[in-house]
């Protein structure tokens, strides 16, 4: 087996594939080169790789044994940047399971105190772990937007991707979020579900699927939610490993390249956010973070030196994995782009 935990191995494996064109060529042919930011409105903070799950598609390679966790000092630097830059209206907290960072609630409190809209990328089952039962109330009091992963509204695919028993716990967690007002459409407590394909294919059409998910989750479990995001799996880390082992890698990458849709570039996440790693380093997105592709040298490369004006002038680093965000209807942190 190829030691894919090493980022250099992942990048080498992607580079070795016989693809008909590179992402920068595709972008250039569409008039999007060099790729530069639009208005930067979001600071996406990855507070660490610690997670209570080990999902088979995880691009972070997160799990219970990971020890890379953002310190309170680094969080303070993030908050300093937020305090200086009012243009950053949204704080998007991700991981791992961000809630397992011992300073997670402190960060949420401080970010909301700064008047920022806070999003938590939640795996749902973390709400069922020791000491986290009050998270729904904690989120509700601070109007945190919960963006929760659920591959399917039924058990089979959910447990295949995320582990045995995850579906049942996820349903219980969603009921707890509903119980404090999330997803009711009135309280302003926004609950978003995120689905990734369970296999080597592109995600479904988001609008069509959302209606079905709302109908089925209500019918099966009485669960309500506000929106469904369909996100493409990225050929990074565990998903890349699975693609290789299952013999799907070349075909999947070819599919991404063949499905390149220039209309999606305007809305790719790297144009509107800055991604902060657990150690404070800055990236164009969470995927570049996991491939160790930092923002270009001329922009500030660590949160302690955060310079929004310089970052707004940067050229975004791209690679073959970027075809994942521009395939079909496109894929961003907010789901489909088109």
């Amino acid at each position: 087996m190829i030691p894919l935990a090493a980022v250099t191995e992942q990048r080498a494996q992607l580079a070795a594939l016989p693809l008909p064109r590179e992402f920068h060529d595709a972008a250039a042919a569409s008039g999007w080169w060099p790729l530069t930011p639009a208005a930067i409105t979001t600071l996406q903070i990855n507070v660490g790789k610690l997670c209570n799950q080990t999902c088979r598609h995880c691009h972070v390679d997160a799990g219970p044994d990971r020890r890379e966790v953002m310190t309170r000092e680094t969080m303070m630097l993030c908050l300093d940047a937020l305090a200086r830059e009012s243009a950053l209206t949204t704080v998007d907290i991700t991981g791992g399971a961000p809630e397992l960072n011992p300073n997670f609630r402190w960060l949420v409190d401080r970010a909301t105190a700064l008047g920022r809209h806070v999003m938590d990328r939640c795996n749902l089952t973390v709400l069922m772990t020791a000491g986290q039962a009050d998270l729904p109330e904690f989120f509700a009091r601070r109007q945190v937007e919960v963006v929760a992963s659920l591959p399917h509204y039924r058990a089979t695919s959910t447990d295949t991707q995320r582990g045995a028993g995850v579906y049942e716990k996820s349903v219980e967690a969603l009921k707890r979020l509903n119980a404090v007002g999330y997803g009711d459409g009135r309280s302003g407590l926004r609950l978003v579900l995120v689905t990734n394909p369970v296999g080597a294919f592109l995600p479904p059409a988001q609008a069509s699927l959302e209606a079905e998910w709302k109908r089925e989750l209500l019918r099966l479990h009485g669960i309500r939610f506000d929106a469904l995001y369909c996100i493409t799996n990225m050929p990074i880390s565990r998903y890349l490993e699975w693609l290789g082992e299952s013999g799907n890698l070349e075909r999947y990458m070819q599919r991404l390249v063949d499905s390149f849709n220039p209309a999606t570039i305007d809305g790719v996440m790297c144009r509107s956010l800055i991604s902060v790693g657990w150690d404070g380093r800055l990236y164009d997105c969470d995927f570049n973070q996991m491939l160790d592709l930092p923002v270009e040298q001329s922009a500030s490369r660590h949160i302690r030196d955060f310079d929004l004006a310089a970052l707004a002038r940067r050229r975004i680093a791209v690679g073959r994995h970027c075809f994942g965000c521009t395939a079909g209807a496109g894929s961003s942190c907010g789901g489909s782009i088109e």
Partner: protein, 110 residues
């Protein structure tokens, strides 16, 4: 010919338009319109197609709509149930002809 049903032939489907291109265009345009979201969702239509593919026993269609149903958001349980629907109709279609058999037997029998 070396054999029948080569999986790579599915990707050559459009070659059927090499002769009678106007008819092929009409077919493919209509085909695309059939599978768009409408009164039925694209996912529901994909599951129907998967079931019909098994009923007409078309390996190309089975390959295509197994992938398509997954891409449309169906899971393996739902796809398996769709195949059972096809099997039930095929089996039922045989069995219900037994009434015809009984009618004949009754007509000529003692």
């Amino acid at each position: 010919m070396a054999g029948y049903y080569h999986s790579h032939d599915l990707a050559r489907f459009a070659e059927i338009g090499s002769n009678a291109p106007d008819l092929a265009k009409k077919f493919f345009d209509w085909y695309g319109a059939v599978f768009a979201d409408g009164a039925l969702s694209a996912r529901e239509k994909s599951l129907i197609a998967l079931a019909v593919a098994h009923a007409v026993q078309c390996p190309y269609c089975i390959d295509a709509y197994s992938k398509d149903a997954l891409e449309k958001g169906a899971d393996l349980d739902q796809m398996t149930e769709a195949v059972h629907v096809a099997a039930a109709i095929r089996g039922g279609a045989s069995l219900v002809h037994g009434i015809q058999m009984r009618n004949q037997a009754t007509a000529v029998g003692m």
